[in-house]
Amino acid sequence: MDNEDSITKLLRLKRYEQPSEEYFENFLAEFQARQRAEVIHRPLLHIAWDRVCSMFVMPPVPKLVMVSSFAAAVFAAVFVMNWADDDTPSNLTLASSGAVQRDSTARPANGKNGSAVQYVLPARPVSYASARSF
């Protein structure tokens, strides 16, 4: 009982006990300064590790957006590869020996019976006159 009385008195006293007004004014500034100091004094490795970990934290992106982005990336890659094929010269090129060769870069299509179809018009004329001779 004595203990309870003393605690009750203490609480009653504490109800009227308040910090000075300066304390509330400086509280936020001091709190931020303390946070900054903690960060600054952390070892560089810890900071780097935190950054690396944060990179792998996936943002809350809907699955549909993720799938469509992946599909767009695959489509773009295929388009770029085909475009590069277009620029490579010729269905036909001539080797230094002078023999006309089939060019593996020719873009084939599929025929009605499923066989590969090549439409011929190379990007370089057939020629083997490598030297000025007669």
Binding site: D86, D87, P89, S90, N91, L92, L94, G98, A99, V100, R102, R107, P108, A109, G111, S115, A116, V117, Q118, Y119, V120, L121, P122, A123, R124, P125, V126, S127, Y128, A129, S130, A131, R132, S133, F134
Partner: protein, 327 residues
């Protein structure tokens, strides 16, 4: 006085085109349509197949007996070759495939429409031209363009003979298509597009006709070879800088009288002023047919008759693909 002034004013005023007279644009359009309509029946789609698949290109009849020019790449080593025109599909035999010019000659058993041969040497810069071919899987179509120049090399590689370069949009599948002038005469064969620049290279019809003449006269390709290499000398001699630098021992140039150091002035009918001129001269040499080579040696001009040998890169046997049997 006033009458005189009025009369002179009338005389100086340019005549106005009457409403009935067609303007230039209409005339050109009419002429292009006329050329297309008159010649599209002589253009064929060439289809060749082998173990790797099917190749499609264009070609055209060059005479009424069913002889066809096409691109060598279409029928090279093909097993079956067919041509389609006017709704007919006929088997074709490969008469020859010439790797040097990049063209092939086919033969079908039919009486055919054909395109008249023009003079490719008259096709100068800014001459309008029309190509008729089969782009990819589409029907025959016409492309209109203009001759932009003549090239002896492309991307550092010399052609076997000078090619015509035209600014004309062409597509895959049009390899072997005829290129015509506005008179409806074929002046060349479409052999290459220049990447995606909207330009193309055309083999002059004169170069193709050399192949056909060889086949007609000898039954085989007869590219001539003297075995002489030339380079440009620093100073011209008698108007030519083409100097003989080497004689190939496999040929017989030395035995026929040519020497290293001779300056070449002409080969056959082709005059030579630079070392590059020998490319065209060489193309039109025929093995076994004597040709005069005009040279300057020690300040003296002379003419030496040489008989070229068969060019070492000429195929020993024509590449034949027999026509598939008709059912």
């Amino acid at each position: 006085m006033a009458v005189l002034a009025a009369a002179s004013l009338f005389a100086l005023t340019p005549p106005r085109a009457s409403a009935a007279e067609p303007n230039l644009a209409d005339s050109i359009t009419c002429q292009i349509r006329k050329v297309f309509d008159e010649n599209q029946n002589a253009v064929v789609r060439v289809q060749a197949s082998d173990s790797l698949g099917v190749r499609l290109g264009s070609g055209f009849f060059i005479d009424p007996t069913g002889m066809i020019y096409t691109h060598a790449g279409v029928v090279l080593n093909a097993e079956d070759v067919t041509v389609t025109f006017n709704g007919n599909c006929l088997p074709a035999t490969v008469v020859t495939t010439d790797e040097r010019s990049g063209i092939a000659i086919l033969k079908t058993d039919c009486i055919s429409p054909f395109i008249r041969v023009g003079n490719s040497e008259n096709a100068t810069i800014a001459t309008p031209v029309i190509a008729i071919g089969f782009p990819e899987e589409r029907d025959s179509s016409a492309s209109f363009g203009m001759i932009a120049g003549r090239d002896r090399q492309h991307m550092g590689q010399y052609f076997s003979t000078t090619h015509i370069r035209a600014n004309m949009a062409v597509n895959r599948g049009e390899g072997g298509a005829p290129v015509l002038n506005l008179n409806g005469e074929v002046i060349g064969i479409l052999v290459a597009r220049i990447n995606d620049s909207g330009s193309c290279h055309i083999l002059p019809i004169r170069a193709a006709e050399k192949i056909r003449q060889d086949m007609a006269h000898y039954g085989e390709l007869r590219h001539g070879w003297v075995g002489v290499e030339v380079e440009d000398a620093p100073e011209p001699v008698n108007g030519s800088t083409a100097k003989i630098t080497a004689l190939n021992p496999l040929a017989n140039a030395a035995e026929q009288g040519l020497k290293s150091g001779d300056m070449v002035n002409a080969i056959g009918a082709t005059s030579v002023t630079t070392s590059e001129d020998v490319i065209d001269a060489s193309y039109f040499l025929t093995a076994g047919e004597a040709a005069d080579v005009k040279i300057t040696r020690d300040g003296q001009q002379m003419s030496i008759k040489v008989t070229p040998k068969l060019h070492p890169l000429t195929p020993a046997e024509p590449l034949h693909a027999e026509a598939p049997q008709q059912p």
